[in-house]
Amino acid sequence: MHLAKHWRQKAAYYRLEGQRHRVTGEVRFPARQATVGESDEAAEAWEPFVLSGKGEIYSFSVVRQAPAGFEYLAPYPVALVRLAEGPLVTAQLTDCCEDDLFIGQPVEMVTRRLKDTGKDGVLVYGYKFRPVLTQVKGNG
């Protein structure tokens, strides 16, 4: 069930928590642990930081042959999103279809159900992005 894997990622997945450098203000996502050879001082210069969730589509594609567990969503768009703070993340787009999308489009983070791991498993929640709510029109 990979319970520990999902649990460990909850801060990043649920609320887009990364890290910010205390001196330079640089933001990185996802958060990283200290790397081999890095001093304690250098590692501790990074503090937890919740990103704004604002960004724009850097590029996108549409998944038509979905991996196991995502078949019911297909076809669904996946994008590289350039976040307002700088990092580039890969994520599903939601509440939209291919025709709604363009490169450079403003998007915002939402927490959605990423995966159902089965009737005796957990529901995995995490970030997706959608076109900015107040700029969306429907077919109604």
């Binding site: 609320r15 919740v50 078949e71 997706k128």
Partner: protein
């Protein structure tokens, strides 16, 4: 019931999914389009949405309006009859997503369509007693109706969130509340069963009208008020007709209830609906306006509240999307897509 320490709403947030299904589309499948429909359309959760995801979005808006860091919340309480887990609280996941953990009371409330109202009244008590300064009360549901049942036309999805705190910091003050509850078998769902059933003759008059009417009349009497003393009123909305009928019986006018009457467009969002109606009113209300609110939950009970808008509303209103923004982004789907998303297809 009036709090010793005055309590108010510091921030409010709403959420309605993007998708809709028209009543006439459901009727096309089940009745060959014959007969009337109880609402024009209802909201449908997307395939990656549930009570928890909708609660999170509404809660983020409520915190944004309150201008309150999530860690200051003393509690995150989620009322729903469609918690995604039978055992594992929605409240902890919502609290984690907001960044409120670990020093917080996280809990789930249940009372059919009144679960959000339960969380709201209990949150009033927490603030009024001085045990905590700020509470987050959420009502959220992805309601289920048996395919072909009358309920399928109305059982919809949405969420509302209210940050409660000291009245001195509030955009609206909750003057008083009353609760009225009896054992009434009007609507229920046994454990392990997928769909609820109506308790035949108990639906309607002995359930909704008796409980909503009793709570509403008692609160008006306790405060020495009449319906004319209120600018707006919201009643629980299981369909379009019931809230308009009870409003008329009590002496409220269509002008008072129209801004908060959302069920014709989005159906019955269960635990969320009265607070979504309140959100829609707060989106347009002016300082000094008064709002009368009455919830209803099958089983059965009603909570009534009297609310007064303060000057603070004007500076906080535009910190988050309005209810109308969610109502406007409607994307209609057909019955086939609706069935696919509800996992009612056996794919093997």
């Amino acid at each position: 019931m009036q709090p010793d320490r005055p309590v108010g709403i510091l921030g409010y947030g709403c959420y309605v999914p993007r998708y809709r299904i028209a009543g006439k589309e459901i009727a096309r499948v089940w009745t060959d389009g014959q007969g009337g429909v109880p609402v024009q359309s209802k909201s449908v959760p997307g395939p990656d949405e549930d009570t928890i995801t909708m609660a999170i979005e509404a809660a983020r808006h409520a915190l944004a309006r309150a201008g309150l860091p999530a860690r200051q919340l003393g509690g995150v309480w989620v009322g729903s009859e469609s918690h995604p887990y039978s055992v594992k609280p929605s409240g902890t996941i919502v609290a984690e997503a907001l960044g409120t953990t670990p020093w917080v009371s996280a809990a789930d409330w249940e009372f059919a369509c009144k679960a959000g109202s339960e969380a709201f009244t209990a949150s009033m008590g927490m603030v009024a007693s001085g045990m905590v300064n700020y509470m987050l009360a959420i009502g959220a549901d992805t309601a289920q109706g048996r395919p072909g049942d009358a309920l399928e036309y109305t059982a919809s999805a949405g969420a509302s969130a209210m940050v409660l705190g000291p009245a001195s910091e509030a955009l609206a003050i909750i003057e008083a509340t009353v609760s009225y509850a009896t054992d009434t078998p009007d609507f229920f769902r046994r454990a392990e069963r997928p769909y609820p059933v109506h308790g035949q003759r108990f639906t309607g008059e002995p359930a909704y009208f008796h409980h909503v009417g009793s709570a509403a009349r008692r609160l008006l009497s306790d405060l020495g008020r009449t319906p004319q003393d209120y600018t707006y009123a919201v009643f629980h909305q299981p369909n379009s007709k019931f809230p308009q009928s009870i409003a008329k019986q009590l002496g409220f006018t269509p002008e008072q209830t129209a801004p908060g009457l959302l069920s014709p467009q989005i159906g019955n969002t269960y635990s969320a609906i009265v607070f979504l109606g309140l959100s829609a009113i707060l989106d347009i209300a002016r300082p000094g306006d008064t709002i009368f609110l009455t919830s209803y939950g099958s089983g059965a009970g009603s909570d009534a509240y009297s609310v007064v808008v303060t000057d603070t509303l004007l500076e906080r209103r535009d910190r988050a999307p309005r209810t109308a923004d969610y109502l406007a982004r409607q994307e209609f789907i057909d019955y086939a897509m609706y069935v696919k998303w509800r996992n009612e297809l056996v794919v093997g």
